[in-house]
Amino acid sequence: MTERKLTEEEIELIYDFCYERNVSEYEIQAELVDHLASAIEENWKENPEISFFDNLFEIYRQFGTDGFQTLTKSKKRAFQKQYNYLFLKFLGSFFQLPRIIFTFAFSFFLFAIIRHFDAREPVMFSIQGFSLALYLWYILFYFPRRLTIKVKKEQQFLFVNYINTLKSLSSLLITCSINTVNIGFRHFKVPNTVWFDFSLSFTVVMLFIVGYAFMFYMPKLMKQHFTKQFPQFVKS
């Protein structure tokens, strides 16, 4: 007698089963479906008479009282941790050779301009204008064309959700930075000291590095990883 295998329709039913139990991201669903399907087919070797649904529910029971919740949470946590680590590693590289030269060279360059022309306010407002223009170009043109992951199927992916989170974080970063500069220069007396000017220059450079990581580096890296792992879902 040939071994009983799951049909395409039954595989789809397992995907639905996972979705109904709050597993909406494809990366988690795919692993669960394969596990459940392998266990179902293994059970059929010993007990071929058991129905598909009885078999499925029996295996689901083995996941314990909270069902797929522990697994889903652990996957999301591990995914975030993995990419947070890559983000921090990228930031850390700006404090190591050779990038540390760039970090301090730009900080000193900005500091020199501010001190030489005694123009803290015009410099900061020019940077603000440049950032805003850059951000508009990014949101309207760059992100939709180069960083959006177009998927063939109506499906949620952890990768896509995380890229969208980064996009929101970059908006937050721009808004907070602009408001801080506005409030700081309009409502407070800014000290005219060498240390303050250097700290200001260094902070601006750091904000640009963090912004670059949120807006370009991380989404690009994630898109590459997604394309490598799920090439069949990428719409060209």
Partner: protein, 112 residues
């Protein structure tokens, strides 16, 4: 207390060692392999296996490949170079732990 409780703290070492020896494996295969090797003594639950696999992947000790197998996707885990180094360290720790446990639980009685 079930025997599984005694294995709990060693799950990551068991997974890393297994992947180091067998090459790439998928989740269900790992549970079956461990069950077979331990002759049914240790059954890894799904609720313990997958969080651990995800954790090891996030730590860079495992890497994944996703492939179509028949009519479904399958995620294979394999050990990275960092993972291989980690196995060596953990095996040394484990051997030392077993030696200490043996000394603690089976003290040699010296006759005067």
């Amino acid at each position: 207390m079930g025997t599984n409780q005694l294995y709990k703290g060693s799950l990551s070492t068991i997974i890393l060692k297994l992947l180091g020896e067998k090459g790439r494996m998928y989740g269900y295969q790992i549970t079956q392999e461990v069950k077979a090797i331990s002759e049914g003594e240790y059954v890894i639950t799904e609720g313990a296996l997958y969080p651990m696999l995800h954790k090891l992947e996030a730590q860079g000790l495992l890497t994944v490949e996703i492939e179509m197998t028949g009519n479904r996707m399958r995620k294979y885990y394999s050990i990275t170079n960092n993972g291989k180094k980690e196995v060596v360290d953990r095996m040394t720790e484990m051997e030392s732990f077993i030696r200490n446990m043996q000394s603690l639980l089976n003290p040699k009685i010296e006759l005067a």
